[in-house]
Amino acid sequence: MDMKDKIEKIRKSLEEDMKTVSSSKDCQDLKVKYFGKKGQITTLTSNMKELSIEQKKEIGQISNEIKTEVTTKISELEEALKTRELNEKLESERIDITLPSKKIKRGSRHPFQRIIEDVEDFFVSMGYDVVDGPELETDENCFQRLNVPIGHPARDSQDTFYIDPEYLLRTQTSSVQARAMQENKEKSPIRMICPGKVYRRDDDATHSHQFGQVEGLVIDKDISLADLKGTLEQFAKKMLGENTKVRFRPSFFPFTEPSVEVDVTCFKCSGKGCSLCKQTGWIEVLGAGMVHPNVLEMGGYDPSVWTGFAFGTGLDRFAMFRYEIPDIRYLYTNDIRFLEQFDRKDEENEIK
């Protein structure tokens, strides 16, 4: 058979074959049919050895042409089929994305702890150390070393749970002041806070017999009441918002002199006057003052060299304010429906 006829035959046969192809897999079979060991194109050049150089050249060229032609045709078909097949596959995998997800359950963090961590972060950023102190304290640390000797009338305002005549449940985190001074053997400057639980014999809608406080203490040379005010202004802004203002009122605590009570602009009405602030626009949140020389002395610091300030504030109220919790008891009831509400990151702008 003439070479040309052979090629024509191949062309025809390919044309027919391609009509029957329905999948990319069939294209593979087709490739085998033409390019396999006994394939029509392979056999075109099977008797090349017997031919002259010129014939070889000619047939080589022709067969190469047909090779390329067939390859291209099959490949094109294969490509087209593959695309179609992929599209069919994708279509068949279409799902209803509005069906419910396979959720990962989040736990929650208690609002009380969230407040503590915020307070800690703020003061750590100002160079304070966060220290811990025992809740089961001595009368000495909780009162006597804070200039509240036995029989002092200031004890009345803090009804105490005694364990025995010597030990009690601390009524204030101020007890850690006494410890921090004693434990600092070098008598070097102190900058610390101590958040924690305190206990008083008092239980009603606004008081819990157990509640949270944070105590702060700075001892250094040349510390003034103005420094205290500056510090608390920053603190109030961080905890209660940038527009919070701070007001000092003279007061009395046995362990500070001068002593001040610290009001902030009412968180509910921003100072306009409402039922929460009894129309005054201010809410008392903190007690503070310059560390009393007797307290410094009992802690081993010479009051003629050292000065310092101390402050203490309740934590529950900050939690109640931030999350708008109306009743302090909710913090301690542990209703799952309450707890689960606190299951995400606090918004940043509330912290700054």
């Binding site: 396979k102 990962i104 359950k105 989040r106 736990g107 929650s108 963090r109 009380f112 961590e117 750590v124 100002m126 160079g127 150390d129 966060v130 809740e135 089961l136 036995i150 009338p153 009345d156 749970f161 005694y162 364990i163 025995d164 449940l169 400057p189 639980k197 206990y199 014999r201 017999h209 157990q210 700075v218 250094d220 040349d222 003034s224 009441l225 103005a226 420094d227 005010k229 500056g230 510090t231 608390l232 701070v246 007001r247 000092f248 009122r249 003279p250 007061s251 009395f252 002199e257 001068p258 002593s259 001040v260 009393h292 020389p293 913090l331 542990n334 209703d335 799952i336 707890l339 689960e340």
Partner: protein, 788 residues
């Protein structure tokens, strides 16, 4: 302390309204609770009943014509004492009374244009009123001017500020103290108190003996007055007592209270004829009895001070007088006591017996000068309002320092502590306002502190006074300049909280005080001595918790009662116990899990392995991998004996884990508790890069059929030993019990990883080790290999 504006105005002139005064006082450190009119009504008018006839349709009402100056009103009145010619208090249409607004109306067919008022209708507390005041309308005196303001006429147009004073300012528990404070506030002088009186020729001194037997009484003054006439007090005294919260009784008793209010010095009057000629001050005997003025028999102890005759105690010093020497209607002669007792003693006694106006003042400490002043003032008023004759002389015991304290403070120190820059002149001006005598020497002030200010004794006290009067709120906040030192905080507990919350657990906060009967301890320790409070508020909260698990169980019960059954919670808190007489406080973490636990895509009923997984995840993420073990135990009373274990880290028991015993709770509840203080004692190794093997590892799986009582851990340790150093990892991936194995058998499948960091392992050597493992396990544990 209730401050009557009228009362204090005797000693200081006030130019501002009462609300402003209250707010200004707050600014200098004296908070108030309320600021109100004594009679909280709108205008009440004086009227005269010009006609009074019985109501035609009532057996007790009267129809009256009342002249109120501007008009004559018909008013229906039910009071039994209403009659023609009576001067009355009239509330006209629209008047606001504490009980409501008065409106015109028709009462049983008769028009009524207002109300005739009883004192009880004006808003005074009943304790200040007599029977007459409550049952009938008030009868004004004949000279009452018709049409004028009735409240003003009765001098009840007073305003009262109720101060909540700080415990150091005992001096403000007096009108005089308040006057000095207001004087400092507005830069005004306090007026002198009238204390003059005429004395009789005969003296008390020869006839009266005083015997002070205790050092708890440093000052005791006695004077005698005779021939008093007991009657009702003048209105101004009664009104001021009422405004101050004290019930008027009779002129003599009222004067003693009036003087106490003015000076802050409590006085006691004895009926001289019932008392005799001697007073002894001594400590009470244990169980000594005394009937006080309120007719109660008090049993005393040796920490109480008593005033006594030779025969018996006649008064509980500083707290309340005895009934036997009380001033009565027929009292003629009076012994006046003005004294100081030790504040701590009085505080102790009054806490036990009774808090009184007197004890409140004694407790805070008194100014000895006022002790004298009150005596004189008392004589002055008794002479003036009770016709008393005052015997000359005074029996006096004095063992007290009366010199004024001197305090030296420099301008520098004041400015340094306050953080402001006051001039010398400004400081001098403030001290002058406070009426502190001051000597200035260069930049140093020497201040003579008046004895009334017993709260002031050190330079810092003066600095506070200066700051207070200057205006502590005028101090501007400064940014502290301190060395830049990083602050420190231990974040491990925070990490734990975040970890557990990420694992789907909710953080709780519960009370450390728990009921005593909550004897559950969740520990392998046999006996725990719990810590109890001496004076609990309730039986529910009398014991400090040793374990946090009972708190979590309560939370579980609370929520279960509200139909929440899938509960995964945790808490970190302090735990307390006593051992060998020493209190211990330790930080613990407790976890409770029950119902469905969902992590990621899996929802599972909580069982031992779920909570064990939480524990392992926590310990390993904290860095304790390969350092802990979980060892089965039957020693924890409150846990299921077949599903509980001790948690061991570095050979130390640091906690427990398991299913709560069905006798404690019937539901399937799993708990664990870790002692964090113990755990944190074990330092975690540094996180450090380890060379990654360049050579491939070989994985082999196999399963053993063993008797049920063989634990996975036992097989694990046999495999580990037999596997040698090529065996890198052993993991259990399946456990099977059922048809395909014997009844008392189970199948456990392991996945083993072999690796050599220095070379590629060949098949033969891996198979050699693998076969060695099979052989050893089969032999040692009577196991049967199942699949290879």
């Amino acid at each position: 302390m209730k401050l009557s504006r009228k009362f204090v105005s005797d000693y200081i002139s006030i130019d501002v309204d009462t609300k402003t005064l209250a707010d200004d006082m707050t600014r200098i450190g004296n908070e108030y609770d309320s600021c109100e009119k004594l009679i909280p009504t709108s205008q009440l008018t004086i009227g005269e009943v010009i006609e009074c006839v019985d109501h035609p349709d009532s057996d007790h009402l009267h129809v009256c014509k009342v002249n109120i100056g501007s008009q004559i009103l018909q008013i229906v009145c039910g009071a039994p004492n209403v009659r023609t010619g009576l001067k009355v208090i009239v509330a006209t249409d629209g008047t606001i009374l504490p009980g409501g607004v008065i409106k015109k109306g028709v009462i049983r067919g008769q028009e009524s244009n207002g109300m005739l008022c009883a004192m009880s209708e004006l808003g005074l507390e009943h304790k200040f009123l007599t029977e007459k005041d409550i049952n009938g309308i008030h009868e004004l005196p004949n000279n009452a001017p018709i049409g004028e303001d009735a409240v003003k006429f009765m001098e009840l147009d007073d305003e009262v500020i109720d101060f909540e004073l700080t415990s150091n300012r005992g001096d403000l528990l007096s009108i005089l103290g308040m006057a000095y404070e207001i004087g400092a506030l507005y830069g005004k002088k306090v007026k002198e108190m009238e204390i003059s009186f005429k004395e009789e020729t005969n003296s008390i001194e020869k006839n009266f003996k005083l015997d002070i037997k205790t050092e708890n009484c440093p000052l005791f003054l006695v004077k005698k007055v005779t021939d008093v006439s007991i009657k009702e007090s003048p209105d101004f005294i009664k009104n001021r007592l009422i405004a101050s919260g004290i019930r008027p009784i009779n002129n003599v008793v009222d004067i003693s209270n009036y003087v106490m209010l003015e000076t802050g010095q409590p006085l006691h009057y004895y009926d001289a004829d019932r008392l005799g000629n001697k007073l002894i001050v001594r400590m009470a005997e244990e169980n000594e009895k005394l009937t006080t003025l309120d007719s109660q028999e008090r049993v005393l102890s040796d920490s109480d001070i008593v005033i006594a005759t030779e025969k018996e105690a006649v008064g509980l010093a500083g707290v309340m007088g005895g009934i036997t020497t009380e001033i009565e209607e027929d009292t003629k002669n009076i012994i006046i006591e003005s004294a100081i007792f030790h504040p701590t003693c009085i505080r102790k006694t009054s806490k036990k017996v009774l808090r009184s106006e007197a004890s409140n003042r004694f407790e805070k400490g008194l100014d000895p000068k006022r002790t004298y002043m009150a005596m004189m003032r008392s004589c002055h008023l008794l002479e003036k309002y009770a016709d008393a004759k005052i015997l000359s002389g005074m029996v006096e015991y004095k063992n007290i320092e009366m010199k004024e304290k001197q305090v030296v403070v420099s301008l520098d120190k004041i400015n340094k502590v306050l953080g402001i820059t006051l001039s010398k002149e400004e400081v001098v001006d403030i001290l002058k306002r406070l009426q502190f005598e001051t000597k200035v020497d260069g930049k140093e002030f020497t201040i003579t502190v008046p004895t009334r200010r017993i709260d002031i004794s050190i330079p810092e006290d003066i600095i506070e006074e200066v700051g207070r009067i200057y205006g502590i709120d005028r101090i501007e906040g400064k940014a502290m300049v301190l060395p830049v030192v990083p602050g420190t905080v231990d974040k491990t507990k925070r990490y734990i909280r975040n970890k557990l919350s990420d694992l789907g657990l909710n953080e709780t906060l519960s009370y450390a005080l728990t009921p005593e009967e909550d004897e559950f301890q969740f520990t392998t320790a046999k006996e725990i001595e719990k810590v109890k409070v001496l004076d609990p508020m309730s039986e529910d909260r009398n014991t400090l918790r040793y374990s946090l698990i009972p708190s979590l169980l309560s939370i579980f019960k609370y929520n279960k009662a509200r139909n929440y059954k899938d509960i995964c919670i945790y808490e970190i808190g302090k735990s307390f116990y006593k051992k060998d007489g020493i209190y211990h406080e330790e930080e613990k973490l407790a976890i409770l899990m029950t119902g469905i636990y969902q992590l990621g895509l899996k929802k599972e009923m909580v069982d031992f392995y779920v909570i064990k997984g939480i524990l392992e995840e926590l310990l390993e993420s904290l860095g304790y991998k390969n350092r802990y073990s979980i060892v089965a135990t039957t020693d924890i009373r409150e846990l299921h004996p077949g599903q509980s274990a001790k948690i061991i880290v570095n050979n130390t028991e640091i906690g427990v884990i398991g299913k709560v015993h069905p006798s404690v709770i019937k539901e399937s509840v799993f708990v664990l508790e870790l002692n964090l203080d113990l755990l944190f004692n074990f330092r975690v190794k540094k996180m450090q890069y380890k060379e990654i093997s360049k050579y491939p590892s070989v994985l082999k799986d196999l399963a053993f059929v063993v008797k049920k009582n063989i634990t996975a851990e036992e097989i694990h340790s046999v495999i580990k030993k037999a596997g040698g150093k090529l065996l890198k990892k052993i993991e259990v991936f399946d456990v099977y019990e059922g048809e395909n194995v014997g009844r008392d058998e189970k199948s456990i499948a392991f996945s083993l990883t072999f690796e050599d960091p220095t070379r590629t392992l060949n098949d033969e050597e891996v198979m050699a080790v693998f076969n060695q493992i099979i052989e050893t396990v089969e032999k040692k544990l009577s196991a049967q290999v199942r699949d290879k």
